[in-house]
Symmetry: none
Subunit: 215 residues, 4 copies
């Protein structure tokens, strides 16, 4: 997500390590603060000052690191995307074991959504009114959709999933996975105040998805 390369590499004067670390730390602090504030107040209600204050900084510093709220939030969501990409198995892995591949994907999503819950709350809230964030969301979805579509076509080649449209089904399954991970991690929606056990949740999701994919 964020490069460790100094911003002005043309600069002859090298920053000291301490200074560079400080700058990096502030950026991190702002990102982390944004997660806290978004989780608490929602994306729409999250004010720049609040984020800066939560990071223990003054309002003005925000603009040394981000252009606006959208850009900061994009950076947050990018981190989520990178994480999901990192932990989900590639299409090549488990080539001969679809069940394990799906289990691994579900697991990856489930844990990513736990870790990045504030981001997902914000994304759901903001994407429908901010074209830039909509695009970010669509990209994230597309990756999952492609993988589900690939899996369905593979199953159909084996005489399964008869009558299903791979593209349509894939967006439905991606929606199921995404929304359910969000929902069950949320302290506010279907199970307010309750924490769903990891094993139980992933097992349940597998039950559902494996039935659809006839694994």
């Amino acid at each position: 997500m964020q490069s460790t390369a100094p911003r002005r590499s043309v600069d002859a004067t090298p920053k000291t390590i301490v200074q560079r670390r400080k700058s990096k730390a502030t950026r991190e602090a702002l990102l982390e603060a944004a997660r806290v504030v978004i989780a608490r107040d929602g994306y729409t209600n999250a004010r720049i000052v609040d984020i800066a204050r939560e990071a223990g900084k003054s309002a003005g510093v925000f603009y040394s690191y981000f252009e606006d709220k959208t850009q900061l939030f994009s950076a947050l969501v990018d981190a989520f995307y990178e994480d999901v990409k990192r932990v989900t198995p590639t299409l090549k892995e488990y080539e001969d074991n679809p069940a394990e591949a799906v289990k691994a994907s579900i697991n990856a999503f489930w844990h990513a959504y736990r870790h990045f819950h504030p981001e997902m709350v914000g994304l759901l809230e903001s994407a429908l009114s901010d074209p830039a964030l909509l695009e970010v969301w669509r990209n994230i979805r597309q990756r999952g959709i492609r993988r589900f579509a690939y899996r369905i076509k593979k199953q159909q080649a084996n005489g399964k999933c008869v009558g299903m449209d791979p593209e349509l089904s894939a967006t439905a399954l991606q929606g199921l996975l995404e929304f359910t991970c969000f929902n069950w991690h949320s302290k506010k929606l279907d199970f307010p105040g309750k924490r769903i056990d990891d094993a139980k949740a992933t097992r349940e999701l597998y039950q559902i998805i494996s039935r659809v994919l006839e694994l």
Copy 2:
């Protein structure tokens, strides 16, 4: 949750029938205009002036009919809820024909979400930062969840859906149905600018859900 009944009916001043009708018409115009603007700009970006202008009215008149945007939106969502309740089959119907019951439910949802798409845009956007609207959404979901849970338990009584947790699965299936209806009706998300055929969409949703429920 707030009632759809107009608040100003309490007014002491007696009105002629014509005035009452005109007043009602303005209220309806504002509600309809809000749907148009929310569908176009998103809930967050929908400004009161824009809604009023879309209704062919001036900004000020809004406050004769609604307290604020939240209250107007609650009224919209109430209507949505009433409609969903009206068109979805009761639990008693199709008692002996689960497949038809599910098909009917999917159909009802699909068409409700087509008609009430702006409401869903707004709900998704606002519920996560507005407790009142979150409550509205939860109520809507609960109705669908109860029905899925009931259906799963019935299937389990018949030796099907073995190993599934009815409550958890039900919220997942409700999420699948809700989010997919929203998604496929949306001109912006997975199929931008494309209209999904009604028959194809409902068939596809049935394919998926019937597999999970082992109908």
Copy 3:
């Protein structure tokens, strides 16, 4: 400069005359207030709130009438330009009497600069840092330059102004006229606190310009 036509002519509901007058009056008040504030504080120091307050209004109202300070100021300068165009003789007039033509032009400029002094202060101050206003200034200058160039060429056709480059000289003379009108009307520059007599000023300007043009 500003049209009397209502902004939303599509509107079926006609504004009452009183309302329309009020709106127009506010716009005028803001323009006039801007002149006062610019004359007092300079263009750069003129804040939107100050202008609004000077007009007896709150800050927000400014944006119902103008997009920003640049646009308001353009409107002011447009008025100046319209006035200069209205009072300066056309090229056709005085065709056979160059001396009178030049006298009339000088007079027109002199009185326009008296009336629009705040605008000219602002223009001088702002044009070098605001491309939009630079363009406005250049347009105003071009008109005067064309007229001086035309006059010089005419004189050269009569064997006068030998060796002068019409284009270059014209911009110099326009600068002389413009800057001197500004300067002598100013209470701050070469004659601080002193008011130069109209007749004396225009006579002096004519003395200078007629020598250059060999009238």
Copy 4:
């Protein structure tokens, strides 16, 4: 008007020659950088950070050498004033050759304005909203005005320039000279992007001014 002498020379801490030289160099670099930025962006838009960056320094160092933008700019204008004084012929020179005196003055001004164009941009922009800089500008003008007035009176003593008011005419001619030098050197005003030839410009200015003075 402020002195160009560096304020920090009062410093109690003794410095090695190298340090002193380095310090002086930084000050010069900042002054030069300011000229570049002002010429490019205008005085109002010139930010301290931009000036420092242009000088290859960090923002903070600015305040080791100048109190604020006004003080830096005063220093620039002082240098300009000194240069104009140095290069323009004294009243005594060319006593017996008015034509040469005027030519020399025009030449001096023309080249000074070429060299100090950024200063003039800044002066025009700032003098009208900053009393201190207005005073600087007035001083510069006064010197030119006195010389023109002296010349006109001399001519009148020889029976020329009949009917001209020496004081008024002098401010007009000074304005003509000043503004035209600025204008023709500018890449933005009447001849955008075009460089006017030195010989042509000074010849043209002499054509005009000599006619007024009846040289």
